[in-house]
């Protein structure tokens, strides 16, 4: 986690906290995460037991991945409002493909391959529309989200088909007595570290920092933004795999509401929505913060009619705390 080096393209010398936050912009989010874990543990000790934490990861791994997906486009100052729709489309596509191919291990692997291809294709479509055709990202991806949802409804008009048992039993099961999702988290961490060291991550941040300057310094801005969307599509496909593993079924509307949560997770993680500054680690933490706030609101015993309000206020407070700490450090 601590090896996530891509923070900002510019670095300045500074005192301790300031330097720490510049190097690890997700630090405030990490503190909030730890505080939330402690609070959850105080109000419901079982929620932070091994089983509880495994459940939390199992449930929110999809949102973590989708937040990572969203981070790559936000790096470049873009946004993807179709991320949730891509999750839905990949979910119904892999379920349909796996079922059609017979549902054995071979079919599962083929289905996952097809899912990655679909995610990538959706990302490329977004990239072409936003980067090549220069439509405003927020509206263009809103439009493609409707298009992708339409495709998902065409593939599976109503929720229902179960996932092959081999697939969801693996996701929900254990290997050598350790839950599968914990392996997935480790693989994700390695993948993120590797990606953070690629040229692409730095270039996306440069484009987000100052698109004009990036262009003038000779960076292929259009291609970089397109690659950002492609990467976003791939990670959205991975998120879809997790949600398919946790729900064991196809549902053409399953991901729709996840889009804004993914954006919120990115911002909670300390990444600037305007682009040019941030980390994927922060987004992963942000996704967990959203999940833990939801649970905490319940565990402290908030009356049902106040739960939405308290949850909203808590997320706002988490955002403010992060920004205040960050601002003080950067001053």
């Amino acid at each position: 986690m601590t090896t996530d080096l891509v923070a900002a393209p510019h670095k300045r010398q500074a005192h301790g906290l300031k330097r720490a936050i510049e190097r690890f912009p997700f630090l405030p989010a990490l503190i909030i995460l730890v505080a939330l874990l402690v609070l959850n543990g105080v109000y419901q000790p079982r929620s932070v037991s091994f089983v509880g934490i495994t459940g939390l990861v199992k449930t929110y791994l999809a949102l973590m991945l989708l937040a990572v997906a969203q981070t790559y486009v936000i790096y470049a100052g873009d946004i993807d409002l179709s991320a949730g729709a891509i999750v839905s489309l990949v979910n119904v596509t892999i379920i349909t493909a796996m079922t059609a191919l017979g549902g054995d291990t071979g079919a599962v692997i083929a289905g996952l391959g097809i899912g990655l291809a679909v995610g990538l294709a959706c990302g490329v479509v977004n990239g072409i529309v936003v980067a090549a055709l220069r439509l405003q990202a927020i509206v263009a991806t809103f439009a493609t989200s409707i298009f992708f949802t339409g495709l998902a409804l065409y593939v599976m008009p109503v929720a229902g088909t179960p996932a092959p048992t081999a697939f969801w039993r693996t996701y929900g099961g254990r290997i050598l007595d350790i839950p599968f999702v914990l392996y997935a988290v480790i693989i994700l961490a390695v993948l993120l570290v590797v990606l953070a060291r690629t040229k692409l991550a730095v270039r996306l941040l440069s484009v987000g920092d100052d698109q004009q300057a990036a262009y003038q310094s000779g960076l292929p801005v259009t291609r970089i933004r397109l690659q950002g969307y492609a990467l976003c599509g791939l990670f959205a496909a991975l998120a879809a795999f997790c949600i398919t593993g946790d729900t064991a079924s196809g549902d053409p509307l399953v991901g729709g509401k996840m889009t804004l949560n993914s954006v919120a997770a990115v911002v909670l993680g300390g990444t600037a929505l305007a682009g040019g500054f941030g980390t994927v680690t922060g987004s992963v933490i942000g996704a967990l913060i959203i999940g833990l706030i939801g649970s905490l609101v319940f565990f402290v015993g908030t009356p049902s009619e106040w739960q939405n309000l308290v949850q909203g206020v808590a997320i706002l407070m988490a955002l403010m705390a992060g920004i205040l700490v960050g601002r003080r450090a950067r001053r």
Binding site: Y60, A152, L153, V158, P162, V254, G294, F298, N308
Partner: protein, 341 residues
Amino acid sequence: MKMTFARALGAVAALALTAFAAQAEDYKIGLSNGWVGSEWRTQMIEEAQAAAAAWKEKGVNVEVVVQSANVDVPGQIAHVRNFISEGVNAIIINPNSPTAFDPVFAQAKEAGILVVATDAEVSSPDALYVGIDHKAYGAAGAEWLVKTLNGKGNIVAINGVAGHPANELRVSGYKEVLAKHPDIKLVNEVNANWDQAQGQQAMQNLLATYPDINGVLVQDGMAAGAWKSIMDAKKTDQIAATGEIRKDFIDLWTKDKLNSGATVNPPGTMASALNVAVLMLQGKELKEPATAGQYKNAMYLQIPFIDQSNLADAAKQLEGKPGYYSYTNQLSIADAEALFK
């Protein structure tokens, strides 16, 4: 000495008995609602809370814990996991997806928790559905419209959210009825996403395109909007359309003598599910096992229908309530008991 021993034994027995009784008659039930976009859902939870409190008279303590917020599917899976952590005896859920909860419900069952879905069916074999049959809901509206139009005329349909299971079931329900009446022509169907504004706009477009329609099949949540367009077009005397169960609509219906009929999906459905759940927690067995529906785990409740014949009764039930309050109906404890052995 002997006396004391006997007394001590008695005390232990009494203690054990009270402990047993406390265990048997104290239940904690978790209510999960994943969408808070309408007053119907709020009323659903309030009625369930009231139903839980009503068990006190029977000497049963039912504590309800509620999770109700706008959540995505993982968010509602988290609701269930939180309830498992909390150690509830039963979970009653109005689910955001019909299929997505299979693995987590299996976990709940493993933890010894009874899972009851309400308002929308779930595919999980580890859960029970207590609520209305949405297919019969769709059919009831169509039956009324066919009868009102004397089996002849052009109609349009305004549906909810495409791909939503309740919507698909309702649509298949009315299509089955219409298939039996070839003189009723369904000239167009549109989706208005259970949104009053979209319902109003859809109706406006439909009236502009088909000025000669006689009937409209529109689900609650959009019907008030659709009726507004019909009234704006001054076609209330030419068109029969399905309606809503909210008080403000029922008042309008009575005042303007609209030609309407409303299938009732009562917000009391969660209270009904709770009463069934408590009886199950008490170890009672259903007379007829719940095996209805496409997932073979449903227990369907009766669907009330409001038309001219009982409109006044409905209005009476809603007297003094706020405008957003829905006509309701629930399985009382006695009604529920009658379903058990």
